[in-house]
């Protein structure tokens, strides 16, 4: 019983991080039909900027993180305009090439600026240490991860279901042609969604830095992991991303507890089985 509870707690914490980073990717891929391989780069930028602000500028954790996320959001808007807009109408292959090129430049820029070292993000005192859950202890930081994750999913749910922007966003994802005929400014929606996705990735990068440490090579190191969440969840589905992130987080954690020596194989075989049974992902549209 303790074991199951342990698996669930660790799995949920890991899943939350996967969710925060991947949900933006899922939505932008679903909305803009762009295979955005550079998405992990925004998570890396968020982490790297936080590290820089804290270590070099001496700014405390919270303001550093907020500043870093804002910086990533601000950076993402012109990037979407200049770099992404021309590739929306191209096929998938040029999109892959363009976004991988962007990823390369992000990596080169960060390693030029901050070097190839790990970029640790020291946690504020309140997040350090561990909490006794009765059946085990859990790093306090994970509690924050889960809380922030829940706020994110709640916020996204509210945004898409209860606001005008959300209605337009869903319309643009489901029927892009019709949406623009009805006078919805899809270009604005693209910009906003892209910025939102980038900001969430930055948030995920910062919150997840304990599990996925930040270094310049981060976007390529974890690219497959993030894409897996999107594929398993189904393109463009927020709930799907959430379910997929949780499922993969818990499955992966269970494998680590029970048969660590086959961990990697288990993860990928699970993915093959899920996608073999549901090629469109858990909640993707056929």
């Amino acid at each position: 019983m303790n074991l199951i509870l342990s698996i669930i707690t660790d799995g949920v914490a890991f899943g939350m991080i996967l969710f925060m980073i991947s949900v933006g990717l899922s939505v932008t891929m679903g909305l803009m039909r762009v295979v955005n391989l550079a998405h992990g780069g925004f998570a890396m930028l968020g982490g790297a900027l936080t590290h820089w602000a804290m270590m070099q500028m001496g700014i405390p954790f919270l303001p550093s993180a907020v500043l870093a996320i804002l910086a990533v959001v601000v950076l993402s808007v012109p990037m979407e305009r200049v770099l992404y807009r021309p590739i929306y109408k191209m096929g998938e292959l040029p999109q892959v090439l363009a976004t991988i090129g962007i990823t390369f430049i992000m990596i080169a820029a960060i390693s030029f600026w901050l070097g190839a070292t790990l970029m640790p993000i020291p946690l504020p005192a309140v997040m350090q240490g561990s909490v006794d859950l009765g059946f085990r202890t859990l790093p306090t930081q994970r509690i924050y991860v889960v809380v922030v994750g829940l706020i994110v999913i709640g916020g996204l749910f509210f945004l898409t279901e209860r606001t005008r922007f959300g209605i337009r966003l869903r319309a643009a994802v489901d029927h892009p042609g019709t949406a623009s005929c009805l006078g919805i400014d899809t270009s604005r929606i693209f910009s906003l969604t892209f910025a939102l996705g980038a900001g969430l990735a930055a948030l995920g990068g910062i919150m997840g830095a304990e599990l996925l440490p930040i270094d310049a090579y981060y976007p390529l190191r974890y690219m497959v992991l993030f894409l897996t969440v999107v594929a398993v969840g189904g393109l463009g589905s927020i709930t799907g991303s959430f379910l997929a992130a949780m499922a993969l987080g818990i499955l992966d954690t269970a494998a680590r507890y029970q048969f660590p020596e086959f961990g990697t194989i288990f993860f990928y075989v699970a993915m093959i089985v899920i996608l073999g049974l549901r090629p469109q992902g858990l909640l993707g549209k056929a």
Partner: protein, 313 residues
């Protein structure tokens, strides 16, 4: 007659490269081997419209098969190539039965997963594969019992170029055959092909198997020329770079695969020797420049220039 022209050009380039860069033959051999790998990918992505990111599974298995064959059975290079090709084909056929039912992102992810599973298996079976240290002890016999592999890499280069010619010629014939035409049909419209009675699923598995054989041959060549096979043959990077090179060159006509590989690897080599730390900038900008200027890849460059010149008039 006209179809022979590119081959003549290819031969010319190969000969010129041999004499122009006599000290870089090891690198040129790697370029040629990578070309074969990228050709196998073009057969899938460019010709049939099957987007995959798992060529490493086929390439790596070919490399290990050829390496093990050389160590334990017979160190003949040509026999090793056949074994590598066969191993690649078998893996492609078996995994293709599942993979070829899927499309798009799902297919991309599944092919990645297959390569990752193979990498972990190779790591686990270290009594067979040497694990993280790599599979060593490969000493190849002379090619056809006559041409010894030499220190400068002349034999290795000529041998690899010959294999490239044969593979390209075979693939050209395949693409021009009714089978090849049906593949192009599948790319343009699977539904229509199904309607006129083409067994689309079976064709996809067939072409995946063929691509597996070609990728396996590339892997076998790599094993023979490096004389060591390591877990890195299954790296995601192998598949991803092959895809980048293919798209860079332009898909669907094989020549794009060759041009893309040559340009990517040459730029990488030069940039990395000028600045080993920051060469990724150059590669990044090259890739972006190609996408925005010639979205169809470098092979579309002459046409693009012609159009621009036309517009100027």
């Amino acid at each position: 007659m006209k179809s022979l022209l590119p081959f003549a050009l290819m031969a010319l380039v190969a000969v010129v490269a041999f004499y122009a860069f006599p000290y870089n033959l090891a690198f040129l051999t790697r370029v040629v081997i990578t070309m074969i790998l990228v050709l196998s990918l073009d057969l899938l992505i460019g010709v049939t419209g099957i987007d995959t990111l798992g060529q490493a599974a086929l390439y790596g298995t070919g490399a290990y098969a050829a390496g093990l064959f050389a160590v334990h059975v017979w160190a003949d290079p040509v026999a090793g190539l056949l074994v590598g090709g066969l191993a690649g084909a078998v893996v492609a056929f078996v995994s293709g039965l599942l993979l070829m039912r899927t499309h798009g992102l799902t297919l991309l992810m599944l092919t990645i997963a297959v390569a990752e599973v193979f990498q972990e298996l190779a790591n686990k079976l270290d009594w067979l594969t040497g694990g993280a240290d790599g599979l060593g002890g490969i000493t190849m016999n002379p090619v056809f019992g006559t041409w010894q592999f030499d220190f400068i890499g002349q034999t290795g280069y000529i041998y690899a170029v010959c294999v490239l010619f044969i593979v390209t010629a075979i693939l050209k014939v395949v693409i021009g055959s009714p089978f090849g035409l049906s593949l192009r049909g599948i790319k343009d419209s699977p539904a229509r092909m199904r309607a006129i009675g083409t067994p689309v699923g079976r064709r996809r598995v067939a072409v995946y198997t063929l691509a597996g054989a070609v990728a396996g041959i590339a892997g076998a060549l790599a094993a023979q020329s490096t004389a060591l096979v390591s877990l890195s043959v299954y790296d995601f990077q192998v598949s991803a770079e092959a895809m980048i090179m293919l798209i860079l060159g332009g898909t669907g006509r094989l020549w794009g695969a060759l041009i893309g590989t040559a340009v990517f690897m040459a730029v990488h080599e030069v940039a990395a020797s000028v600045d080993p730390f920051n060469w990724l900038f150059i590669i990044g900008f090259l890739v972006l420049a190609v996408v925005y200027a010639v979205p169809r890849g470098l092979i579309g460059l002459p046409e693009e220039i012609r159009r621009m010149v036309g517009r100027l008039k």
